[in-house]
Amino acid sequence: MKLNNPTPQLPPVSTPINLEDLSAFVLPKGQESIIVPQKVLSQVPVRKPGKDQWFRAAADTERWKPWMVIELKEDSEMYLVPHQLAGVLHGESTLIQCRLVPCITDVGVVFLWPIRMPDSYGRLNPWHESALRAAEIATKQWVRITANRQLGGYDVLTAQFEKEPAWPNESDDELIKIAFREKAISSIDHPVIRRLKGLA
């Protein structure tokens, strides 16, 4: 019982209570016992930004690392391919080299935007070139992109939201791990490679 030491004490009732003296009665924040929940990043989609989404791209373009991926368009899936397996897959049309650009939407959804890299001749499809430019703009401003077929590229809209993106604490390596948790190819025996080579 806290009755044996009921401090702080109120003045006797004959003296009007002085509200300025009551701060000692307020429970410290610790006792108010607010627990700060930690958000666990459980999913990182690999996709281009939705046409109705405002997003920002990682400002440090060093983070836009090149990766090899197999893109199965029919299944809408991408598989991460280690560089050492690239030789085995030489000539495979589904194998592409792209930058995985870390992005975040205005409601805090983190995703990796795969933007194709130039081919071996240094050529870049206008759509991919346009995507790259949009991502560059998105490093500084909130951006929305919509496909413009006549233009052969993306229309880029910008907005002046006051808030800055709240990036998660996870490192880029962790983002990649989460994004490709079940879609990383580690050997030539992987079912995706066997299927592409007609061995399945």
Partner: protein, 578 residues
């Protein structure tokens, strides 16, 4: 165990009533440490001195202490310096938990596995006997004293069971509130007795006329009966969206009408009419012969710790037109002082959201929110962008009650996408608030309880709704600040008539009301700073001087209609000239 009190005394009175105030009949006191017991019959003109200690070294224990303190005030005995109210502490310990037996003394004893004082029937018989006011035979006096003693014994047993779980500093502060509330209950609210009696006696005979008069603008009644098809047609014509039951019928609950009339003020008279017709209990208002509305104020009655007086007996309970019965006595004035946007301010301060605090400090947080979200230009005003402001106001309030996007959109009569967008704008503008709400939810679930700044609690169970958790901190801390304001106002000599949710109704002689208002507002500001670690919630005031009456503009239309239908009353409730 050494206790810092020379005496710890459980006290209980039996009393009859005079004008709603307790008239003490007898008192029994049991000093717990010495076991000394005192039984005194008081039904005489010479009450004598208080037979137990009331100083700073004496602890006074009771079950719902405002009744006992009311007896002290009636007897001219000093108000005990240290009070712990076991009813309040029991309510705190079970706040948020469904209690099938309620929270009276017998229920509390049962909860702690203790034997009761007397049976419910015996208790009711004894209370009726006391309220009869006498004269009492010797045998009846003996019965009342024995009953009073059994209750005191029960309070003492309950004390032993509960004491170890009581947070004394803050329990004593709550006890101090009960003492202040006793003074408030004793004061009561001044009522225009002429108008009240006229309306009460004529009311049944004007029912049909009243329906016809109010229904002129709606056309939803067939005779004296509310007609659902006509109401549906009215809503369609006016394009007012209306909540429906799961079976697709229009929802006709009182709360639905109340909420809808907030969104669509043109519906207010219809809501007031329906309420008035279904609650023809204007006669149950606790208005006494001395022209005051006095009733127990239901201290700590809700899980947020707010008062919960009987809506039938308390003048602020029924439809808003009834409030026009409040009228200062000759030479007196009434002032209604309320915290401005109290819940918004509390949410801003507790979450530490700087943008939200900044919005509050502009004086119009809803317009500021719209401005911050980019929905209105920087120079927008309430006049230039009233519609936008209203949307953002509804959104800000909806967020505090945990309302979803679709309900919000329905409230605004908009498509769901607009509700989603408004909520998204709130999240973008006040991100720290949303983070805090999430923290509150997690804390509640992990710790099994929430706690306000001065220790009021919500026990969280599997049945506690997420919306309750989101809204509870604002309500509970709002309740704390009003309690502090009541204590400070009463102890500084302000005549408080009633605490009303986030406001105080006070009275003073006409030439003193401005000073009383000034002091009360200062104290209310200080109270908010205590609870919110220095953040001040503004107050607003409305003063009325005799012969004007206090009224709620929302009920003005109905009040005028009713008065105009009653012979002898003018439209504003004053006597007509012969």
């Amino acid at each position: 165990m050494t206790l810092p009190f020379k005496t710890i005394t459980a006290v209980d009175f039996e009393f009859s009533q005079v004008n709603g105030n307790p008239k003490p009949l007898c008192v029994v006191a049991h000093e717990i440490m010495s076991g000394r017991r005192t039984k005194v019959w008081l039904d005489s003109n010479v009450p004598g001195d208080c037979p137990y200690g009331t100083g700073p070294d004496d602890l006074f224990i009771a079950y719902y202490a405002s009744a006992e303190i009311g007896c002290h005030l009636a007897l001219g005995w000093p108000v005990p310096a240290r009070i712990i109210d076991l009813c309040v502490e029991f309510k705190l310990q079970t706040s948020g938990i469904e209690m099938p037996n309620g929270r009276n003394l017998l229920a509390a004893l049962l909860h702690y596995g203790l034997t009761g004082s007397v049976s419910v029937t015996e208790k009711s018989d004894m209370q009726q006997l006391a309220l009869s006011g006498g004269p009492f035979t010797d045998e009846q006096r003996e019965q009342l004293l024995d009953y009073c003693e059994s209750d005191v014994e029960a309070v003492a047993r309950l004390w032993r069971a509960m004491a170890s779980g009581i947070d004394a500093p803050r329990a004593l502060l709550r006890g101090r509130y009960m003492a202040a509330l006793a003074a408030v209950e004793r004061n009561g609210v001044p009522v225009d007795m002429f108008a009240f009696q006229k309306i009460r006696s004529a009311f049944p005979s004007i029912k049909s006329q009243l329906i016809a008069t109010i229904d002129e603008q709606f056309g939803v009644y067939a005779g004296d009966s509310f007609n659902l098809q006509r109401f549906e047609a009215y809503l369609n014509e006016k394009q007012i969206p209306w909540p429906k039951t799961p079976s697709g019928r229009l929802e006709l609950k009182e709360d639905t009408f109340k909420n809808q009339s907030k969104m669509y003020p043109e519906l207010r008279p219809l809501y007031e009419l329906r309420w008035t017709l279904s609650n023809m209990n204007l006669f149950k208002l606790a208005i006494w012969d001395d022209g005051r509305n006095r009733t127990l104020l239901g201290a700590f009655g809700s899980k947020t710790g707010r008062n919960q007086p009987s809506t039938k007996r308390f003048i602020f309970g029924p439809a808003t037109w009834v409030r026009f019965l409040m009228k200062p006595e000759p030479g007196m004035a009434l002032a209604y002082i309320d915290y401005e946007q109290q819940e918004f301010a509390i949410a801003a301060a507790l979450s530490g959201d700087a943008a939200m605090m900044e919005a509050y400090m502009t004086g119009d947080p809803y317009l500021a929110f719209a401005r911050m979200a980019g929905a209105v230009p920087a120079d927008a005003t309430k006049a230039s962008h009233g519609a936008e402001r209203e949307q953002f106001k509804v959104c800000a309030l909806a967020v505090q009650y945990g309302m979803g996007a679709e309900t919000l959109a329905a409230q605004l009569g908009l498509q769901p996408i607009f509700g989603r967008e408004l909520l998204a704008q709130h999240k973008r503008t006040f991100p720290k608030f949303w983070q805090w709400i999430e923290q509150v939810q997690v804390t509640a679930k992990v710790k099994g309880k929430l706690q306000s700044a001065l220790g009021w609690e919500l026990q969280v169970t599997g049945a506690t709704k997420p919306n309750t958790l989101s809204n509870w901190p604002c309500q509970a801390n709002g309740s704390e600040m009003l309690r502090l304001a009541v204590i400070a106002a009463v102890e500084n000599g302000i005549r408080v008539c009633a605490p009303v949710h986030d406001a105080l109704l006070i009275e003073a002689p006409e030439d003193e009301i401005d000073a009383a208002v000034c002091l009360t507002r200062r104290l209310m500001g200080q109270a908010s700073r205590v609870v919110l670690s220095g953040f001040e919630v503004r107050t607003d005031v409305k003063i009325v001087r005799h012969p004007n009456r206090w009224g709620d503009p929302r009920g003005a239309f109905m009040w005028e209609k009713i008065c105009s239908l009653i012979p002898g009353l003018s439209q504003n409730g004053t006597p007509t000239r012969p």
